[in-house]
Subunit: 261 residues, 2 copies
Amino acid sequence: MEKGRLLAASLGPGDPGLITRRAWDALHSGALWCYPVRRQGGASHALGIAKRAGLSTPGDAVELVFPMTHDAKVLARAWSRAAERLVPVLQEGRDVVFLVEGDASTFSTFTYLARFVKQRDAAIATEVIAGVPSFNAAAAHTGMPLAETDDTLAVVPAGYGLHELDTLLPHFDTLVLLKVKPLLDDLVEWLRARSLLASTVFVEKAGSPEERTVRDVASLKGSKVNYLSLMLVRNPNRLRGVMIRGCRQQPLTPGNGSQTK
Amino acid sequence: MEKGRLLAASLGPGDPGLITRRAWDALHSGALWCYPVRRQGGASHALGIAKRAGLSTPGDAVELVFPMTHDAKVLARAWSRAAERLVPVLQEGRDVVFLVEGDASTFSTFTYLARFVKQRDAAIATEVIAGVPSFNAAAAHTGMPLAETDDTLAVVPAGYGLHELDTLLPHFDTLVLLKVKPLLDDLVEWLRARSLLASTVFVEKAGSPEERTVRDVASLKGSKVNYLSLMLVRNPNRLRGVMIRGCRQQPLTPGNGSQTK
């Protein structure tokens, strides 16, 4: 008997209009739905997107509990339990579709789930349907490009600190700073000191119905923001090196071809 | 009379299944289609995606010629001509939908077009419908994550050179190297010297029907590849700093909170 496939249906950042046609088909394919929650009976962002698209949750849909923790043991147990629940369904030949917020390759839990399923049965095929990441939706809504011709782009959790950002800044035209909440006030001062306030936008819950965009980033100082908050920082001061284009004739040695300092 | 809106419909990297529902609606909305070509009568990647989705090109669709050049004057003239063609339509109240390959905020020409249209008539509203970037599709197809929990991600045209890549490498879990063609052989040696060949995938024409994935990157040495080629490099050697999480009580000074060196 042919085994079912484990599909990741990336549903985009929250706006049901940003579900792709392929993900839409996967939701309607008769595959068993499963979706992540933080705790039993809790809300699922991914399932919420499907609901806002007007779909009703199939009666046999499976809730998978992945606690919000960085404890590797607790997480491994959760992934293992999820795989244990899904593998028999897949082995019986039914497809399983895992509902993912955003894009399944970008800060998603799918990679872990797929690994644990493969560990139990290496013959089960997995497939990722790519989707729209939240920061692409944020850029679209603010009208700020993530990258123009020959630009460089970095996506960095802000929590690695301001010193790290200072190291990266000269090299990038755009910084997408994720999870800015714990450093918000310091980030505002960091941006001010580097004359970047005018080219920075703050976006809370990007792509969701509660999305909030703040262009006057300095006004956020001292305020409380949601955990799901990011900043798009355009850096007009990147020193551009000479690009190597087309078909080079000369061999390249490290040190050549980069003046982006 | 209400003016029409200029919409950017991001159609994803080439697979018509990756068109979002909102972009799909925009294509069917009665808006005037326009699409970029390199030269008059040339093929349009963006239009090709709509065609592969089974849509036929409306009789009044407008081809916009944007030559493949880095000459700022030639480009400005092309944008200006495109704006001149579209603004009267918008001023008469009809929406215009610009077909975009990939995501309109990510290495797209839309930002320029929108600027030139706004210059002619600041009252014309623009809207970007976010889409799936090509490197997200590449990651999906290779099964390689772009970013897992707390990862850092850089998207960099390879043409800035190997020295620049050496500077960035210690700071990133994933490097997406764009336009690798002119440096292909040198990149293979660069990857080999840093023990990164096994965690690198090469993808040509990501997301298109001709997509080609090569996992044995060393085998590419000396071969000819398409201009639209990228590499996904996972770096298992990034030194991880301590993340600042949750709500900090202590003020942060530059130098704290980052040990990612």
